[in-house]
């Protein structure tokens, strides 16, 4: 940067020179290769700054719009909660325990239901058997619709044998 017009080139790009000065600098840049390169560098640099500035502005505007439409607070599901590692581990164990308990209890319930069904079937069978036995031993098997009778009779010797526990004769 040996040219004394280098600083003026920067001012020209920024539009900070008077019309006369700008005309004379432009005439110089047209002849000075160093200044031409300088102008190019300035313009490129300026473009980069403009691009980065316009991206940040756009992002800020978008955020402002989102805050306006949704609300100032961010949603709960988007929030992060920081937990100490031991608490997180305990919670993890609890969750695993609950899952195991749920699975075991479901299996047990299923087992119990099966046992209950078996017992019900068994008790029904027993009831039927009992009813059959009752029907067999019930005195109603002698009932053929006859009228009750009563009479006195000479004592039979079988009565004496019954006293001694004889069931049949």
């Amino acid at each position: 940067m040996d040219c004394k017009f280098a600083e003026k080139t920067s001012l020209l790009i920024d539009g900070e020179l008077s019309l006369e000065e700008a005309e004379s600098i432009k005439a110089h840049i047209a002849e000075c290769s160093e200044c031409q390169q300088m102008e190019k560098d300035f313009l490129y640099f300026r473009q980069q700054i403009q691009e980065s500035v316009s991206g940040a502005v756009w992002e800020a505007r978008e955020k402002a719009q989102t805050a306006h439409f949704i609300g100032r607070k961010s949603p709960l599901w988007k929030k992060w909660i920081s937990l100490p590692a031991p608490v997180f581990t305990a919670l993890l164990f609890l969750l695993a325990g609950f899952g195991a308990w749920a699975i075991i209890s479901t299996i047990n319930r299923h087992k119990n239901l099966t046992v209950a069904e078996e017992l019900t079937e068994k008790s029904l069978l027993e009831k039927e058997n009992r009813q059959t036995i009752l029907n067999e031993i019930s005195l109603s098997r002698f009932d053929r619709g006859g009228r009750a009778e009563i009479y006195a009779t000479r004592r039979q010797p079988s009565i004496e044998s019954d006293k001694h526990g004889s069931d049949t004769r």
Partner: protein, 314 residues
């Protein structure tokens, strides 16, 4: 001569008193006699007999019992009122009430077939009672009959006086289905009944008699001197048909019919009948209206029922 007469009189009196003492002693001995009833339910056909259940009741002479049988469709209530009427004779009044399910009416209501029988049996101790709850089933194979045999035995209790009054039921062989039940109890069977007729509050006739349980007994109401119209001879026919234990006094169910005798033609007209519940030892009063006795007076009939003296010691 006089001495001889006095001696003869004393001898006669002594003999009579001895007979009396002897009778009272034998009566006491009868009272202390115990009766055992063996109740056996058995199934029988022409070739085989099988005992199903066996129960023994033991108590003082005069012990009553019930035999109940209940199946799903049939019910029998057999009651036995027992009296020792002679040293070797039992008088047993039995009532058989049966109820059998018959079916359903068109309106789907249950229908029952009911039957009631009364029997009086004079039984020696070499006899037994046979009760056929379902009647006789004869003919055909497998036609078995259910028999309930009741066998009485009389015996003198040699154990202590305290235990001799005790009523015992032993179930020697229970029926597996539990369809036959036996109950035993000792209630008074003899009652002293006094009947009095009052006219305007004055006694004009009275009669007393011993009444046996569930047997109608006639009580002649003998008119006294206050009775002006001796033609109005009244007779009461009285029954004690129910006995209920209660405190302080037991209850009895009574039934009565009052007859008026006509001397001219020896006929009797029933002028009043009724029934009620009497407390033992208390008066039971009924009004006899004037039309029945064709008089202007206000007539009243009073009954008083007590357990007979022979029953009060038991």
């Amino acid at each position: 001569m006089k001495i001889k007469k006095v001696f003869l009189l004393i001898t006669i009196l002594f003999t009579v008193s001895l007979i009396g003492v002897n009778r009272s002693l034998s009566a006491k001995a009868d009272e202390q006699k115990r009766v055992r009833f063996q109740i056996v339910a058995a199934q029988e056909n022409s070739t085989e007999r099988k005992v199903l259940s066996q129960t023994t009741i033991e108590g003082l002479a005069g012990t009553d019992f019930n035999v109940n049988l209940q199946t799903a469709n049939f019910k029998l209530h057999a009651s036995f009122i027992c009296d020792l009427v002679a040293p070797d004779k039992l008088k047993i009044k039995s009532k058989l009430d049966t109820r059998r399910f018959y079916g359903y009416s068109p309106a789907n209501l249950p229908l029952y077939e009911e039957d009631a029988q009364n029997h009086t049996l004079i039984l020696g101790f070499d006899e037994n009672i046979v009760l056929l709850p379902f009647g006789r089933n004869s003919g055909g194979s497998g036609n078995e009959t259910l028999k309930i045999e009741i066998t009485p035995t009389l015996f003198a209790d040699v154990s202590s006086a305290e235990s001799s009054d005790a009523l015992k039921i032993n179930i020697n062989k229970p029926l597996p289905s539990g369809e036959i039940t036996v109950e035993a109890f000792k209630n008074p069977h003899r009652f002293q009944v006094e009947a009095i007729v009052l006219a305007d509050g004055r006694e004009i006739a009275r009669g007393t008699s011993e009444v046996l349980f569930d047997e109608e007994q006639e009580i002649r109401l003998a008119p006294n001197t206050a009775a002006k119209n001796s033609a109005q001879l009244l007779t009461a026919k009285f029954t004690v048909n129910k006995y209920t234990r209660n405190r302080p006094q037991d209850f009895v169910g009574i039934g009565y019919r009052i007859f008026q005798a006509h001397l001219e033609n020896q006929a009797q007209t029933e002028i009043l009948s009724g029934s009620g519940i009497a407390i033992l030892g208390n008066d039971l009063r009924y009004q006899l209206n004037n039309n029945q006795l064709a008089d202007d007076k206000k007539y009243e009939l009073r009954f008083n029922v007590r357990a007979a003296l022979s029953e009060q010691n038991k």
